[in-house]
């Protein structure tokens, strides 16, 4: 069964981005993909809650695509989380609108892959840093999919970036076609 994918794209300086621009261009035209540029829609940070909820309800996958800023999402995407994922809609009593959907993240980092390990510059592994998002998905009843990570976004050469963009396109296209990868689950099971 094909899946409808909502890409919540958050880049405050899209015009100066390299990696994310290439990645975004690689998936923009795919069938079933809705690209929603948050910094373009809400330059004043006013996130229209109703509109965003309707949009989310109409899709099966929420895909956060963004550069990693301070081991987190850019501020507007965080504002999106704060404003849109309301009690009674996303969680809590009657908050089941995201139940059964999938959550995925496509992020770029400044540092090399090697930094993201214990003892490296970043001290933590990507999976550890993404735990708040994993838990967000979990709390809202969504299945968390493995992230798509592009390391050293400013440093990799053209060819590597092209390959990365192609890989991203394949991942998203497969998802749109309904091919689900194994869920991304770093939480030790309760049992």
């Amino acid at each position: 069964m094909p899946l409808r994918i909502l890409v919540l794209y958050a880049h405050p300086a899209h015009d100066r981005s390299r990696a994310n621009r290439a990645l975004r261009a690689a998936i923009e035209d795919l069938a079933g993909v809705t690209l929603h540029d948050l910094y373009d829609s809400y330059p004043d940070f006013f996130v229209d809650v109703r509109r965003e909820q309707r949009l989310a309800e109409q899709h099966d996958v929420l895909l956060f695509q963004h550069p990693m800023y301070w081991y987190n999402v850019p501020a507007l995407l965080k504002e999106w989380q704060d404003a849109v994922l309301e009690v009674g809609w996303a969680y809590g009593e009657g908050g089941d609108k995201l139940h059964g959907k999938h959550f995925m993240q496509a992020l770029s980092t400044g540092g090399h892959a090697a930094s993201y390990r214990h003892g490296g510059h970043a001290q933590f592994e990507i999976a550890e840093l993404l735990r708040p998002f994993e838990q967000m998905a979990h709390y809202c009843g969504m299945r968390c999919l493995p992230p798509f990570v592009t390391h050293a976004a400013r440093l990799i050469d053209e060819r590597a970036l092209e390959a990365q963009a192609e890989a991203y396109r394949e991942r998203v296209a497969a998802l749109a076609a309904g091919e689900l990868p194994a869920p991304f689950d770093t939480i030790p099971s309760a049992e």
């Binding site: 006013f46 809650v49 109703r50 009690v87 809590g92």
Partner: protein, 597 residues
């Protein structure tokens, strides 16, 4: 035809005015000419509906009295003092030069010196009523040329007193007359002193007392009583009624009742002044005109031409630029109602036939003014460079952005763009504004952006954006259409005035910013904060309103000509918006809400 009662007379005057004035106004000839022609039409030489124009003329002179009272109200003593140079300098120059020139011409043409001098005095006078009413109708009174005209008219009002005395002397120099004059002069000075003192200490408490009765018609009655009473007092001591009313106006210009007085007197002034012009029209001796048309016309046009030339020559170096000098010269080119008085007072010097001829020329000259003013407005003013109506500046640079209109709106746009490193070419049609911003170091060009050649000169065919920031709705639409037609690839951004023209821009697909929407939303947001809403909540509510309102504008634009439909969709939209805003307010307000935000 004879023995008309008051009612019939009133009917005739009102009907004549109501028919003629709108027609003339529509034709662009102005209300003054309308009244004058209406007067000719109903007078003894037209339909003969009114038997005795003389009595009406006397009554209608109060129109001038009220006009000067209102002019005085606009001019407090300090501003009057500031005008002393044009009043006495320009005024005396105008009167003396005209008297001398007319007298010299008269003598040269073989007239006796006395007759030539009297004609000169009469012709030196201009018509306060026509001059001021025409200038006011065209909103030209506050311009330098308008101020010069007003100043000189005021001087003439003063000058007519010594001139009448001089005529009495010329008429025979009876000793009694001279003695009487001193007496009267003393009385006049005493009265003016009394008036100033009363104006300062008595009039305001009196006005307050009357105003406190709360009866509007009593206040109106008192205003009229005040003006007419002062006029009567002035006349009793031999001064001009209009001058007295003007003085009373100046004394009350600083009072808190100024606006009420203005509002109350205004309609009376308008009606009586109209009546005055009708009366002047009726008194025009069409018979004499028909008998010797070339003589009357030649005399009238000769005087008008002479006065215009003299006045232009006097005003130009003395006071103002070319356009203002021309305005001044033409506004006062006619011979005024004081000439009737002066010629009347010179009965012993001038033969009856001469007086009739001069009077006919005076009336004819009055008819010419509205036409000359029309010519000034249409032909002269656009061409003559006043520090106002100068030729468009030559634009010597091309920038990526053109900003048309450099008022409060365009300035901010341009400054922000400039700060972001985007240079703008700024055009404004107000020369004063251009000069002002230039003094502050900003480069702006004077010119009319509704003209294609100017847009082209500014580089509209290569620019990246044209910002239409003019405040005039029609001009903004005109510039937009012009730009779209001639530079289809030039992106536009327009300042819209309100919903109505914003709809037009939606239809055209041109992005428009409603000029007060942003600031009104800022005010609403500030109001919510004062009322205790959290700043973030207040901001979200205002932002939500803006988003919906802008969406609604686009949704409703197709219905803009269908009022019923528009009302229906608007009401629905308003209800939706209210629900949305309440939701927004609730979203962020309560700590009692579940959830962590």
């Amino acid at each position: 035809m004879h023995d008309h009662g008051f009612l019939e007379q009133a009917l005739v005057y009102l009907a004549a005015g109501v028919i003629a004035v709108p027609v003339f106004k529509r034709l662009g000839l102005g209300s003054v000419l309308g009244y004058l022609v209406a007067g000719v039409a109903i007078g003894p030489w037209g339909l003969r509906l009114i038997a005795e124009p003389g009595t009406v003329l006397q009554f209608a002179e109060f129109g001038i009295v009220l006009l000067l009272f209102l002019v005085g109200l606009e001019l407090n003593p300090a501003r009057l003092w500031a005008l002393r140079r044009p009043i006495f300098g320009l005024g005396s120059a105008q009167v003396l030069a005209t008297v001398a020139a007319v007298a010299a011409l008269g003598v040269a043409l073989g007239q006796p010196l006395a007759v030539s001098l009297v004609a000169g005095m009469g012709f030196a006078m201009s018509s306060t009523a026509i001059g001021l009413a025409t200038l006011a109708e065209k909103n030209l009174l506050p311009t330098p040329g308008g101020q010069a005209s007003f100043s000189v008219l005021l001087f003439q009002d003063l000058a007519v007193i010594p001139l009448v005395l001089l005529l009495a002397l010329l008429s025979g120099g009876k000793g009694a007359a001279t003695e009487f004059d001193w007496n009267s002069a003393a009385k006049a000075i005493a009265l003016i002193g009394l008036l100033v003192a009363a104006g300062r200490y008595l009039l305001r408490p009196l006005l307050r007392f009357v105003a406190n009765t709360g009866l509007r018609e009593v206040f109106v009655g008192f205003s009229l009583l005040l003006v007419l009473g002062i006029a009567a007092l002035m006349q009793a001591v031999g001064l001009s009624m209009a001058l007295g009313a003007f003085l009373a106006g100046v004394l009350l210009a600083d009072s808190e009742y100024r606006h009420e007085l203005e509002l109350d007197i205004e309609p009376f002034k308008g009606l009586l002044l109209g009546l005055f012009f009708i009366a002047v029209g009726m008194s025009i001796d069409v018979g004499l005109f028909l008998h010797a048309p070339l003589l009357v016309l030649g005399l009238a046009l000769g005087v008008v031409a002479l006065k215009s030339a003299l006045q232009y020559a006097i005003a130009r170096p003395f006071y103002c630029g070319r356009s203002d000098a021309a305005l001044f010269a033409l506004a006062l080119s006619q011979v005024g109602e004081f000439a009737f008085v002066l010629f009347g007072a010179a009965g012993q010097i001038l033969p009856r036939a001469t007086i009739d001829l001069l009077n006919a020329a005076v009336a004819t000259s009055m008819l010419s003014t509205p036409l000359l003013m029309l010519a000034y407005e249409r032909l002269l003013a656009p061409r003559l460079a006043r520090p106002g109506a100068r030729a468009a500046d030559v634009i010597s640079e091309t920038n990526p952005v053109i900003v048309a209109g450099f008022g409060r709106f365009g300035q901010i746009v341009s400054r922000v763009l400039g700060g972001a490193g985007v240079a703008t070419t700024v055009i404004d049609h107000d020369p004063n504004q251009v000069d002002l911003v230039r003094r502050f170091g900003t480069k702006a060009y004077y010119g009319d952006a509704t003209r294609l050649d100017l847009l082209r000169a500014a580089g509209a065919d290569k620019a990246a954006l044209l910002v239409v920031a003019v405040d005039d709705v029609e001009a903004a639409l005109a510039i937009t259409r012009l730009a779209r037609e001639n530079f289809p690839r030039l992106p536009l951004l327009v300042r819209a005035h309100g919903r109505t023209d914003a709809f037009e821009y939606v239809e055209m697909g041109v992005p428009a910013v409603r000029e007060t929407l942003g600031s009104a939303l800022d005010a609403a947001q500030a109001a919510l904060r004062v009322l205790g809403f959290h700043p973030h909540a207040a901001w979200r509510i205002a932002a939500q309103f803006r988003r919906r309102d802008e969406a609604m504008l686009v949704e409703h634009a197709p219905h803009r000509h269908d009022e019923k439909k528009l009302i229906a969709v608007s009401q629905q939209a308003r209800a939706d918006l209210n629900a949305l805003l309440r939701e927004e307010a609730a979203r962020l307000r309560g700590a009692e809400e579940p959830g962590w935000r």
